[in-house]
């Protein structure tokens, strides 16, 4: 990580800077609810979100990716660390230190889209109310006509028929509901959208529609996305940069193509290898199947949290926790990995391509 001189200094392209973010949950037990331990959900996470980019947070359940996104928007208050947010040329503000009223402005600019459009939309509200609610709360419209007009415009933006604004969510399919959720998120013209598994619950044909819609909207409105997901193929399609999380820490972060073709952390390598590929030619490829399960963030192993499942682990990994360090070989690129042997290991990235070429040549 680039060390900055002043604690609120930010790279000029950066819109959100997450620094040393920590979120611990207490484990309580017994009649007196005495604290007997902590779940280290997020443990010293650092990254910058640059204006106009899509940064993906990937990892398996319990890795802390969703908690990280909640701590950014202050839906959960972090235990420690900073979340610096800057609008335009203004002084960056540290969201972790702001009170509820002060946060309103920031929250207008950072919006969320959730996984399940069946539970994230109130079934008793019409589209006009759902999409218009933030506009009313933030006093962005003067009267009912203006509200209707603005909501109709938002519906057109997400390619829904504006004449449906008096209908209820039940009349819409999963994909259409996710469009409604996007329209609501965009109603206040935010700078940043956090999409938490926004396409995971959708069928593939509809998932593709939403992925493309999000890309179009990004170009059209200059949005910045933090894309929280577990599906590596979806992330590869959508993100410019990817941060891989394991047991509350970022283990690798870099540009998407670089990270997928040249992974430097054994966990990233295993995730890429495990992702099922819709190509029968890769059926007999050698897969890395990790033994065991994701580390329990309430009872983490010492040293590198990944070492019990790592096929390259050595003694040092059991004792020392690796730092996230820059290992990029190319000038001007940033590729960080938290592995003692990041520079030595020969890891395999996306397969498939080789077999494909072979087939075409055959």
């Amino acid at each position: 990580m680039t060390e900055t001189t002043r604690e609120t200094d930010m790279n000029e392209r950066t819109i959100i800077s997450v620094r040393n973010l920590v979120k611990y949950f207490p484990i309580e037990a017994g009649f007196l609810r005495r604290q007997v331990g902590v779940v280290k959900a997020v443990d010293d996470v650092n990254f910058d979100l640059n204006e106009g980019e899509t940064l993906a947070l990937v990892g398996e359940s319990g890795c802390g990716k969703t908690t990280t996104s909640h701590c950014i928007i202050q839906a959960q208050r972090p235990t420690a660390g900073q979340v610096l947010f800057r609008i335009g040329d203004a002084e960056p503000m540290d969201l972790t230190r702001m009170e509820k009223e002060e946060l309103k402005e920031a929250r207008r600019n950072i919006r969320m889209i959730y996984q399940d459009p069946y539970s994230s939309l109130n079934p008793r509200m019409t589209l006009l109310q759902i999409i218009g609610e933030p506009l009313v709360i933030h006093r962005m419209v003067e009267n009912q006509d203006e509200l209707q007009e603005r909501v109709a415009e938002l519906l057109r933006l997400v390619r829904l028929d504006p004449s449906t604004l008096n209908r209820y969510p039940h009349a819409f399919s999963g994909g259409q509901r996710q469009r409604i959720a996007i329209a609501r998120a965009l109603s206040l013209s935010p700078k940043v959208v956090i999409a938490d598994e926004a396409v995971s619950a959708l069928d593939v044909s509809v998932q593709a529609q939403i992925l493309n819609l999000m890309k179009e909207l990004q170009t059209q409105l200059g949005l910045t996305y933090l894309f929280v997901a577990h599906n590596l193929a979806v992330v590869k399609y959508e993100a410019d940069r990817v941060a891989v999380m394991y047991a509350g820490k970022i283990v690798e972060i870099g540009e998407t193509e670089e990270l997928y073709t040249n992974p430097r952390h054994p966990y990233t390598e295993a995730l890429i290898s495990a992702a099922p590929n819709p190509d029968p030619d890769t059926k007999y490829r050698e897969r890395i199947v990790l033994a065991g399960e994701v580390a329990d963030p309430g009872n983490l192993p010492g040293g590198c949290a990944f070492h019990p499942r790592c096929r390259y682990a050595e003694d040092r990994c059991r004792q020392e926790t690796p730092e996230l360090i820059d290992i990029s070989e190319k000038e001007g690129q940033s590729h960080l990995a938290a592995c003692h042997f990041a520079e030595k290991l020969e890891l395999t990235g996306i397969a498939g391509s080789i077999q494909r070429e072979e087939r075409e040549n055959a």
Binding site: E60, S61, S173, G175, Q176, D203, V204, S205, V206, Q207, A208, Q209, L211, N212, H230, N231, L232, A233, V234, K236, Y237, E238, E257, Y260, T261, A270, L271, I272, S273, A274, A275, P276, N277, P278, D279, P280, D281, T282, K283, R287, V289, L290, A291, E293, V294, G349, I350, A351, G352, S353, R356
Partner: protein
């Protein structure tokens, strides 16, 4: 009303036709399973046919509402109360007996003997396969002793052996554990052990990897591959994930709104997809390949099941829609290559309309 309840069957008792099993273990012919509710009738499965040979792995794929799960529930006759098989045959070759599962009593002796013994099933959510108040071992031992005449001790040993085979870390201890003490991945393994405890001839796996993380999914697929090679049972893999189909199965059937749209070997269907829906599905999946690979979604949405489109069910979203044909007639299955069939007018069937 009474005939709708109990998931019973409407067609008359008749002797199953024995011809043409061709060495198949299971032959589903023109299966129609409908759901009846106040809003109307949903034709969840509407004329589906397929065969599976001993030791073969067949995939059934499609998006939500395509009828893939209802097909599997029809085979085992575990449909919800308002679901009913209204037509077709489900022929199962059990030793030298040919049984039509579609006409047997769902709660009768024949099906109870087959379920769990000759045909077993694994589910998406392992907790739903187990009772939370009995140990894993008790449930496996119970299953073994229902279907086989063995002593308790023998069944106990078999259960431990099966837990060992599915890769449980400590079978002798795991056998006395309750499912809530096991982690997600271990529960999945225990469920596989339970389903395989009587060495079924056919294992139906309904989205077994959907709710688990990708590294656990990889473990599960490896387990199914190993155990299939080991025990040689046939598997029907039901999933929406075409990646899982490509990794595991020999043949695949793609379904859309209760209809079979295409079937063939995975190589044929994935490398030479013919039906516009199959092509659309494959084009909409982001690929794990280097470089930029664009994805193209299928336009529109899946129609409401109470208001199914006329003719070909896919015509409302089809980029190759032929006006005057597709919305009026149902396309027949047409062979485009040996063992590769498509139901689409682009490949034939229009001559018969004139």
């Amino acid at each position: 009303m009474t005939e709708i309840q109990s998931g019973g069957t409407a067609i008359d008792e008749m002797a199953p036709s024995t011809e043409g099993m061709n060495g198949s273990l299971l032959s589903v012919r023109d299966l129609q399973t409908h759901f009846f509710s106040r809003e109307g009738v949903v034709k969840a499965v509407d004329g589906v046919s397929f065969d599976i040979k001993p030791g073969e792995i067949l995939g059934i794929a499609g998006e939500s509402g395509c009828g893939k799960s209802v097909t599997s529930q029809s085979i085992l006759r575990i449909l919800p109360k308002n679901g009913k098989i209204v037509g077709g045959e489900i022929l199962f070759q059990n030793e030298d007996r040919l049984i039509d599962l579609a006409t047997e009593d769902a709660d009768g002796r024949v099906l109870r003997d087959i379920r769990g013994k000759d045909i077993a099933m694994i589910f998406q959510e392992p907790m739903s396969a187990f009772s939370p108040v009995h140990t894993v071992g008790d449930q496996i031992i119970e299953t073994i002793r229902i279907h086989q005449e063995v002593s308790k001790e023998e069944a106990h040993d078999q259960a431990i052996e099966m837990l060992r085979r599915v890769g449980m870390p400590n079978p002798a201890r795991n056998i006395d554990e309750y499912t809530f003490n096991l982690s997600g991945g271990m529960r999945q393994r225990a469920m596989v052990a339970l389903s395989l405890s009587c060495r079924p001839k056919l294992l139906i796996a309904d989205e077994p990897t959907t709710a688990v993380d990708v590294t656990i999914q990889a473990q599960m697929l490896e387990l199914l591959r190993d155990i299939q090679a080991d025990l040689g049972m046939a598997i029907i893999m039901i999933t929406h994930d075409l990646g899982v189909i490509a990794e595991l199965t020999d043949r695949v059937m793609i379904m859309y709104l209760g209809k079979e749209v295409e079937h063939g070997t995975v190589e044929d269907v994935f490398h030479r997809p013919q039906h516009p829906y199959t092509r659309g599905l494959l084009a909409s999946i982001p690929k794990m390949e280097p470089g930029r690979v664009e994805i193209e979604p299928i336009e529109g949405v899946v129609p409401n099941p109470y208001a199914m489109p006329s003719g070909c069910k896919f015509h409302t979203r089809c980029p190759d829609f032929i006006e005057g044909v597709c919305e009026r007639h149902e396309p027949p299955l047409t062979a485009v290559a040996r063992g590769h069939e498509v139901s689409c007018f682009l490949y034939g069937g229009r001559e018969a309309l004139e």
